[in-house]
């Protein structure tokens, strides 16, 4: 290809989305991916597409992203397996329900209405299989879930159709300023040059930042998930809990995905994750308590994807604080999948115009200096 205008580092959902939005703006984008697109967190996450429970700073971005999700086929020519069966966060006690009510009030005070408190009766209607002790929930009706790998690949394909280029198996080893452009070296000895860089390197993004003399306190994390054998269909929305981590969803084929926030261990240089079955046991116990119907289910597989968390559990989005023409989008801390469509739009806008109308100040990397 002729020289790209922007180099995107990382072929996860955020990198693929950035490439697509850049290409749609007529900007030549080159994506450098060290493994293959969707290899890590983007391809193997729980697939939740939710506004529910977002950090207040993330709510405007999440709502803007959801608008894209609701017409995702128009953008990537694939439905991405997206369904809008809602997301539910259940309260297991009156005390928890009070917390949820306070949360809904807080969100409403900010001017948003997507989170809705429902009582025990309505919870039973929405989730008939829920355990008797659950007393209510927050319900986000238009939230849902999608197939993460299919989505990431759909973004990749759409980006290529729009004119972006991908090189997979290209691990970035160095970034250097040369005149008015950036030179990017990869492990195979190749160099590329572009006027701007977008850093979507996920759990490896701190290494890209370090090349710019910028500190990014990324905490590489291995979020564990497991899946059951096929069960008769019994639930449509995605369910989470209040005081313990859970992400619970049944697929069309009957298998049930059980996630949460429990962590395995990892070696990010070897692309390797170790599962901690004591943590998965806690997830299993949560499901045992919340869904008695699952007590005889079998667990057929567990895994973990490598993902970047930030110390404050919200991402880094925005320009570099030290290097001109470099823009970050990483550290989504286990809830970046839903934000993928909008984060790419933001970084594409930043890389081409230098600004965006969305409120991204809370995500600036300078908060860690």
């Amino acid at each position: 290809m002729s020289q790209p205008e922007v180099i995107v580092i990382g072929g996860g959902i955020h990198g693929c989305s950035a490439a697509l939005h850049l290409a749609r703006r007529g900007v030549k984008a080159l994506v450098l991916e060290k493994d293959h697109a969707g290899r890590h967190a983007s391809g193997v996450n729980a697939g939740g597409v939710r506004r529910l429970g977002r950090h207040p700073a993330e709510i405007p971005l999440s709502i803007a992203s959801m608008a894209i999700w609701h017409r995702i086929r128009d953008l990537v020519d694939d439905d991405c397996g997206f369904d809008r069966n809602g997301q539910v966060k259940v309260a297991e006690s009156e005390a928890e329900l009070a917390l949820l009510k306070a949360r809904v009030d807080e969100v409403r005070a900010l001017g948003f209405t997507h989170e809705e408190l429902i009582d025990q009766r309505e919870l039973r209607e929405v989730v008939p299989a829920i355990a008797d002790h659950c007393v209510g929930a927050i319900f986000c009706r238009e939230d849902g879930a999608a197939n993460p790998y299919r989505t990431t690949l759909a973004f990749r394909r759409a980006a290529v159709r729009a004119g972006a280029t991908f090189i997979e198996g290209a691990r970035v080893t160095a970034l250097k300023r040369e005149g008015r452009s950036w030179r990017v070296d990869t492990a195979d000895g190749t160099s590329h040059a572009a006027a701007a860089i977008v850093n979507c390197a996920g759990a490896w993004a701190d290494r890209v930042a370090a090349q710019l003399g910028e500190s990014a306190p990324v905490i590489p994390s291995a979020f564990m998930l497991m899946i059951s054998d096929r069960q008769p269909p019994f639930i449509t929305p995605v369910v989470g809990a209040t005081a313990r981590p859970l992400s619970f969803k049944q697929f069309a084929n009957g298998t049930v995905l059980i996630g949460g926030g429990y962590q395995g261990t990892l070696d990010r240089d070897a692309n390797w994750t170790n599962l901690d079955f004591r943590g998965l046991a806690l997830s299993a116990k949560t499901v045992w308590d919340l869904f008695p119907i699952m007590r005889n289910a079998g667990i057929v597989r567990a895994w973990a994807g490598i993902e970047a968390r930030m110390p404050d559990d919200i991402p880094v989005i925005g320009p570099s604080a030290t290097a001109e023409g470099v823009f970050h989008a990483f550290g989504f801390s286990g809830h970046g999948f839903q934000l993928g469509p909008i984060s790419g739009a933001i970084t594409a806008e930043l890389a081409t115009t230098g600004r965006t109308n969305l409120p991204i100040e809370p995500f600036h990397i300078s908060r860690f200096t």
């Binding site: 293959h36 790998y149 989470g240 926030g261 170790n274 299993a284 005889n296 289910a297 079998g298 057929v300």
Partner: protein, 475 residues
């Protein structure tokens, strides 16, 4: 043996699998003073080759053959070795830190070992022909399990098809049990003889030669043998009704059948080793992935050794010796014997291993299954669990799917309860041929625990720790 003892939280050595390699390894390790436990999925020792050797109802000695009864000679010493024996135990996870997840009697626990010997043996190679999932079609291995453990044989019109020693062995055992076999359809490619011929001298001096020839002769006189079969399909409605085959350019032949028994060799059962992260390489002669091990069976992961057919197909006698070598090395690494003693004690086993491996190369090349029977096409099922066809796999490759792991995400192929045991090799070769690159470049599924399903209830009842509870509570 201490069958009734409770499972401890820690052992010097854990052996997985009570076939010849596992029995020999555990016996010798315990004698050398290692606190040893042997976990086995079956209810009685013997593995697949010596399955039910202590309790088979097919007790007529000549029926199963002298090689089978050799297994009893491994079980006796094991029982007296002091190693703890845990039958009915499913190992569903082993971490790189050698934490073992085991399920016994519907209850799971975690324990650790300083050293682990995987002796998980072999699996039958998939035989993906049209109709291979119809009721009435099964593998020769499955038929042998029924014979050894329950004394049962298939009934009605029986046809055997495929290639490899087990095909002939089962035919002979069936004949001895008084079963009539309509035909044996031999799919061994004619060209294999030329490739194998240079290794014939080694084979002729091996223990396989005389026994093998005797078996073939025994079967040939009493069963119609159809050589040079190049295409094979099982047809029927609710169950198999006929087998359709071709020989080269000749026309289709149809045989009515009630039971079709398929076999085209075995491959190492690498699921546990793969899930631990041991490095594997493609073996072009045996057409399978084999873990990389040294002369003692040590894998690329510290503390994990692999013995027997799980480390590469070499047969039951070789497995036994490889088990003993792994035990000696374990005793050395755990400080029970010095290197000199290990090497001295290993010498006779290494020599016996070399003798047992003689002739193997000839068998590998002679019985190398034809590509037509390894790489299916069209609507033939590849993944039985998720019902994925060859055509779907090829379409995914056309969409940019590069390998088996992406295929899991595309089609759920290999993600059912069997964890790829019945489709892994087929998928690798199918993608390799579609992309025009060797299987070594395509690789295999990355397997994840639990490598065998466990119940949610078992998992929920595992002991929990504070460290594990450090979760990221989101939103």
């Amino acid at each position: 043996m201490t069958a009734a003892s409770p499972i401890k939280e820690h052992y010097d050595l854990a052996v997985v699998g009570a076939g010849p390699a596992g029995l020999a390894a555990a016996t010798l390790a315990a004698r050398l003073g290692l606190d040893t436990v042997l976990f086995d999925e079956q209810t009685a020792p013997g593995g697949q080759i010596y399955r039910s050797v202590t309790e088979t109802p097919a007790g007529e000695p000549t029926l199963l053959g002298a090689d089978y009864w050799h297994g009893a000679g491994l079980v006796g010493p094991f029982m007296e070795s002091g190693a703890q024996y845990v039958p009915g135990a499913t190992i569903w996870s082993i971490s790189r830190e050698r934490e073992i997840g085991v399920s016994v009697g519907g209850c799971s626990r975690l324990l650790t070992a300083r050293h682990i010997v995987l002796a998980t043996g072999a699996l039958e190679r998939p035989f993906p022909i049209p109709g291979w999932t119809l009721p009435g079609v099964m593998t020769c291995g499955a038929a042998q399990i029924l014979l050894k453990s329950s004394g049962l044989v298939a009934s009605g019109k029986i046809v055997l098809a495929g290639t490899g020693p087990l095909l002939w062995l089962l035919a002979a055992q069936y004949l001895r049990a008084g079963v009539t076999i309509e035909a044996l359809l031999d799919t061994t490619p004619a060209g294999n003889w030329a490739a194998a011929l240079p290794y014939l001298p080694g084979f002729l001096v091996s223990s396989y030669a005389a026994k093998g020839l005797r078996l073939v002769r025994e079967v040939k006189h009493r069963v119609k043998i159809v050589r040079g079969v190049t295409a094979l399909a099982a047809k029927g409605g609710d169950r198999v009704e006929e087998v359709v085959y071709r020989r080269g350019e000749a026309g289709e032949v149809r045989l009515p059948v009630e039971t079709l028994l398929l076999h085209q060799g075995v491959a190492p059962n690498v699921n546990l080793a793969n899930s631990i992260g041991c490095t594997h390489r493609w073996d072009e002669a045996q057409l399978c992935f084999t873990p990389v091990v040294d002369e003692w069976g040590m894998s690329t992961v510290p503390g994990i050794a692999i013995a027997g057919d799980g480390a590469g197909i070499a047969g039951a006698m070789a497995a036994e010796h490889r088990g003993r070598l792994a035990a000696l090395d374990a005793a050395h690494r755990l400080g029970k014997i010095d290197a000199r003693r290990r090497d001295r004690d290993a010498a006779p086993h290494a020599a016996a291993l070399a003798r047992a491996e003689r002739g193997r190369r000839f068998l590998d090349l002679l019985y190398r299954p034809a590509e037509a029977f390894r790489v299916p096409a069209g609507e033939t099922l590849v993944c039985r669990c998720e019902e994925v066809t060859a055509r779907q796999v090829l379409e995914a490759v056309a969409l940019g799917c590069q390998g088996p792991n992406q295929l899991k995400s595309f089609l759920r192929c290999g993600m059912g309860p069997c964890q790829g045991r019945l489709c892994g090799l087929t998928v690798t070769e199918l993608i390799a041929r579609a992309r025009g690159v060797p299987p070594s470049e395509i690789g295999y599924y990355r397997l994840r625990p639990p490598v065998k399903p466990i119940t949610l209830a078992e998992l929920a009842a595992l002991p929990q720790t504070e460290a594990a509870a450090k979760a990221v509570l989101r939103g």
